[in-house]
Subunit: 411 residues, 2 copies
Amino acid sequence: MGYTTSNGRYRDGLSGKVKVIQCIQAKGPINRSAIAAAVQLSIPAVMNITDELLRRGVIIAVGKHGSGVGKHPEMYAMCGDHFRCIGVDIGRTMERIVITGLDGSVLIQDEFPTEFVTQPRRFVDRLCEIICHTVESAAVDPSTIVGVCVAMPGLIEVDTGRVVFSPNFGWKDIPMQQWLEETLPYQVIVENANRAQAFWEIRPGRGNDQLTVFCAGLGFGIGAALIRQGVVYYGASGTSGEFGHVTVCPGEGERQCTCGNTGCLEAVASGAALAAQGRELAESGHAAMLYKLCNGKIDQIDARLVFDAAKRGDADCALLVENAAKYIGIALASAINMLDPDEIYLCGGLMKNGDEFFERIKYHTRKRQMQFAGRHVVICASIQDDWHVAKGATLMILDKGYKFQALSFLY
Amino acid sequence: MGYTTSNGRYRDGLSGKVKVIQCIQAKGPINRSAIAAAVQLSIPAVMNITDELLRRGVIIAVGKHGSGVGKHPEMYAMCGDHFRCIGVDIGRTMERIVITGLDGSVLIQDEFPTEFVTQPRRFVDRLCEIICHTVESAAVDPSTIVGVCVAMPGLIEVDTGRVVFSPNFGWKDIPMQQWLEETLPYQVIVENANRAQAFWEIRPGRGNDQLTVFCAGLGFGIGAALIRQGVVYYGASGTSGEFGHVTVCPGEGERQCTCGNTGCLEAVASGAALAAQGRELAESGHAAMLYKLCNGKIDQIDARLVFDAAKRGDADCALLVENAAKYIGIALASAINMLDPDEIYLCGGLMKNGDEFFERIKYHTRKRQMQFAGRHVVICASIQDDWHVAKGATLMILDKGYKFQALSFLY
């Protein structure tokens, strides 16, 4: 944890300005003496910082507050007008984009079907059009835009924004950030979608930014992110969190995973895996209810239809769903035994299929979790909202402010 | 990462004094301007600190060094005489104790067979006798002893030094630290043995203290520790690193683990598991070479004998060993996919059984590891030395110096 100052010196911890911003984000409106107490800086130091942040348009004064006699202090909150962040969530079926202010206000959100996955260059060109179109639609002054954070599944080299390997997209070594910056007039960072989702789970005001939070994305693919005291765990080369590629079925002859391996959690419990297994059942004359629900169009079977058939009593589909919950539980129990988080959030499309699935995951997790390990871990289903990843991506822009010219004065 | 100062204020990062000590540990003999450059403090600030550390007996001046004309600067190194640390490694078969100086010099090391495991109170009484006896044998002035770090397998509540659960010892909720401090005239901390081993792997001078290091102990039981940039990953309740209780055999009817679960890595690949499986083979008339090697005394079969029989061509034992390597590889690959470390160290008794076993573990790890994940991870066999855990425990005393009265002046 640390940053490089504008004169190139590496410093431990957060800069005073960033600490003050984080405090105002989490607790604002708040006065200066309360900020000083929270961030452990002197009141004059905080006054210097708040004066600069006011002048720069990062925060605003929202009036005086208090009761009784005596001087009432000025209260500060984040400013939504001056700096805007663009967050993009590239999902396997939909691309979502939001533009927010630093106060978390949403200026616009829009979604588009994902296209041209097999042509990465064309995919990126279209993404640039979407971003420019959205900025225009929102009538946002481009000079207020700090930058863009693109969140997508797969292994990302975060320093360069290269997509090293995305099994779900079939991409290897795509210079995503470079291509985007060649076309767009904005600075771009590329991040893993599970990390953006995890940032959303510890968003300002939530009160869990000092905890160890494990966030698992259970969708078309499966991945995870670990955040400790507000700091993302990246690992040595930025490829940590490949929860979907934890081995849960070590036997021979297991189903092949998109990563090339066998026995991965993603190969048996992801949305893609449930759909594939459902199609195989229907093709081989099993899962009669599923066959009925898809009107005989087997190639249109997706995970949601497998869940629907299971709920309507299709025993074959019910077994698929139960198996998915079992293997997710096994992998989560291993994650608890290894990582001992305070909170686990389960997110992603699979979690839209009702409480029963969540309960079965928790059952299998608790069954496999070691006695006394992760004693107080809380397992939560994330609130269902398709916009979390894109919104989390906008939060990552401020978190990685040292990468953006517009925020360099903070360091 | 942070500490509480002597006036009760919480501070981020390391204190200047601790930074200077770490620098001298890693790079000494070293002069003050080189220290200042390394720890990013001003030279006058470093002079104040080195003056105090000299006066307190933490460091010593070892003469002037340089070539050519001009003033040659004084060089500093850690002092071995003034502060001594006691490290204890409680293993399932042996207890090992070392007393070291802050310069890493070993004053004495001694070992004793582990006894009274089923009577924890008696176990602790005997441990106190061993510690006092060792201090006397070494003719160490007790006033120079900073404290004791006891390292053992299992879940430890590090704030209180309680053993919450140690499957290998069959212990639950043993107030180890309290019992030891009631009898001994020293302050005591209790730690997990894998964390002590990991501290040894990043010992001063090694040059890997800024990396992400995953250290797996493969012995009677199996555990692990993760250290990032010199800081132990504890998790929310201190129970992280239960690598032996990652599920690798999720099938029904699997072998029961000492933790009460089934399908754990420890239940199929630990020393205890290999011994148990070897005994079962011998009892059922298989593994003829193993039966011969134990002279028909099946209850004396241990993991080493299983390895010996495998090396002499016993196919049943060879399969046991290969299976252990396979499951360890599967669990390591999952750890790489999730945690993306720079370095993995494999330690513990199983690693004493030759290069072939290590090669098989690496083969299975690489086979299961996700493409491009943990791209640069180096998998190493730890140097074979029975004293690493005890020596690592002494290093943890300085790392947790804020817990010891004798070192409170550092904070």
